[in-house]
């Protein structure tokens, strides 16, 4: 069940900036682009790297290790080596804070070797 959680003051993040926050045990990348705030799982869908350590260019965030790119508005994968999207989370602004709806179930399972 998702809870709406305040994660940082609106003023803490300038336009074109991103940061990592942790809410309900889930690592999230929060960014502001063109006056809008967005939140994504802070984990590249390819090799689990923190997207918040990468580079934000416009609406695209670039993974620091292999360079996969994702659209921060939708989580859509924009380039290899990733194939699948990154999960996005609803963001609201209220009382001077950034609020994100996130469930503890959104915490990723531990890495494992095989598919089974």
């Amino acid at each position: 069940m998702a809870e709406v959680i305040p994660v940082l003051p609106i003023a803490a993040l300038g336009d074109g900036e991103m940061t990592r926050v942790t809410a309900n045990g889930v690592d999230l990348m929060v960014c502001q682009v063109a006056g809008q705030f967005y939140a994504l799982a802070d984990r590249c869908s390819h090799a689990r790297q923190a997207l918040s350590n990468g580079k934000l260019s416009g609406f695209e965030v670039r993974c620091p290790l292999h360079g996969a790119r994702f659209d921060v508005r939708t989580g859509a994968c924009k380039s290899p080596p990733a194939t699948f999207p990154v999960k996005t989370f609803p963001v609201t602004l209220e009382g001077g804070k950034v609020w994100i709806a996130v469930s503890s179930d959104d915490k990723p399972p531990p890495p494992r070797f095989g598919p089974i």
Partner: protein
């Protein structure tokens, strides 16, 4: 040069049923492996004539051929092969082609029948591919003798949990071809494992690009960084044999590329849990985790309904990883086996079929689940698991590189010795003479 930690081996080489001592490394030189073998249709044709049609190939899982009348259709390159269990309980292999006008006689991937009836003109064949009925036989002035028009049979035999076939009528016995493999792998009792996953993915690369991808651990740090908390990727024992090869990857060990070997990350905790070992109750550090899991499994096997009596201690945690030439790669663990089978495309060297099967050893008394339905799809349409998705994501780009004028060929490290050995074995088939790496 960086000096890494060593990973301790706990297996007793004298007592281990699966040989675990290091095999002497062959001198295969250091030359570039030519890239043309991955892209050339001419090379592909030579491979077909001199290798694919000469070796033994895995055809079917025995679980699919339990009852008389069961059949499996397997594809390799341009060929479709029927494997059957006949009314006498014997296994048979024959080409999937009617002797009349060339139609295929077996449809679908598998089934049960007492005879194969060609849908075109209703010629009928028994479970051995022998022609048993020709409608209006009197209208063939040249005759339509059943004994001369049976489907061409293929050598067929069984090892492990699988039926094997060869398109070479003069092929050596399967046991000669497999060499040391049964001695190494029979202790795992894979015939007792359940098949729990069975998919085929269409990949845009040569079949060898895929074989190469799984037979070195040099790529782990780059491609699978999330595994380094519980898999060693550097101190890995590599052994090459006549045709086949292997490496032994320590699992439950923090990669020696990570300076602090004491850490226990989510991956290590997951590895422990997967083996029924409670990470919260573990008081040691990352350096002792592998041995602790081994001891836990050894002490608790009976309670868990599992029998590890034929496995050495390292086999309880580690990945004994084998390549059975030419196209079977195995990740074998005490409770599971993950099989990759690379099959060449019918005509395009830049495409292939990747078969992924997972087998699980279930606790004694646990009924085997129903066989999963086989599914086939293109890369990217479905995930096949995080690690294999990562491997797959490299392949189309590597294949594009193989086609580039700017690429010189494969520049191979000692960590990639198995790749060199695999290509040497392939060259032995293609040239019937000592290795020739250079054009």
């Amino acid at each position: 040069m960086t000096v890494y930690r060593k990973i301790e081996r706990f297996a007793d080489p004298q007592a281990s049923k699966t040989p675990c001592e290091k095999a002497p490394d062959p001198d295969l030189g250091h030359d570039i492996i030519p890239k043309e073998r991955y892209t050339s249709t001419e090379f592909m044709a030579t491979e077909w004539d001199r290798m694919w049609t000469k070796v033994w190939l895995m055809g079917a899982w025995l679980g699919d051929l339990k009852h008389p009348g069961d059949y499996v259709v397997t594809k390799i390159g341009k060929e479709s092969i029927v494997l059957t269990k006949d009314e006498h309980g014997k296994f048979n292999a024959f080409y999937n082609v009617c002797s009349h006008r060339g139609n295929q006689v077996a449809y679908g991937a598998s089934g049960n029948t007492d005879r194969f009836r060609c849908a075109y003109h209703l010629w009928e064949y028994n479970l051995r591919g022998e022609l048993v009925n020709v409608p209006d036989a009197e209208t063939f002035p040249q005759g339509a003798p059943c004994d001369k028009l049976s489907i061409v049979k293929l050598p067929c035999d069984v090892w492990g949990a699988w039926v094997w076939f060869s398109m070479n009528p003069d092929v050596e016995p399967l046991s000669d071809f497999l060499g040391m493999i049964p001695e190494h792998l029979d202790p795992y009792h894979m015939d007792r494992m359940a098949l729990v996953n069975d998919v085929t993915v269409e990949w845009d690369c040569n079949w060898k690009t895929s074989v190469d991808a799984f037979n070195e651990t040099y790529h782990v740090a780059g491609t699978h960084p999330q595994l380094m908390g519980f898999i060693e990727d550097y101190d890995v024992q590599i052994d090459t044999y006549e045709r086949h090869n292997r490496y032994l990857i320590p699992f439950g060990a923090v990669s020696t590329h990570i300076e602090d070997g004491t850490i226990i990350d989510d991956g290590m905790r997951g590895f422990m849990q997967m083996h029924g070992f409670d990470p919260n109750g573990y008081k040691g550090d990352g350096l002792g985790a592998r041995r602790a899991v081994q001891r836990h499994l050894r002490e608790n096997a009976k309670k868990m309904g599992l029998d590890y009596s034929d496995l050495n201690d390292d086999q309880l945690t580690d990945d004994y990883h084998y390549l059975i030439f030419p196209n079977l790669t195995w990740n074998i663990h005490c409770n599971s086996a993950m099989l990759f089978r690379q099959r060449p495309h019918e005509s395009d060297p830049n495409k292939m079929y990747y078969d992924l099967q997972n087998y699980m050893m279930l606790p004694e008394g646990t009924p085997h689940p129903e066989r999963p339905q086989h599914r086939q799809f293109k890369h990217g349409e479905e995930s096949i698991g995080e690690v294999l998705d990562q491997d797959a994501s490299n392949l189309a780009m590597v294949q594009a590189g193989m086609n580039s004028s700017g690429f010189r060929g494969l520049w191979i490290s000692s960590q990639e010795l198995r790749i060199r050995h695999f290509h040497k074995t392939l060259d032995d088939y293609l040239h019937r003479n000592p290795i020739k790496w250079l054009k």
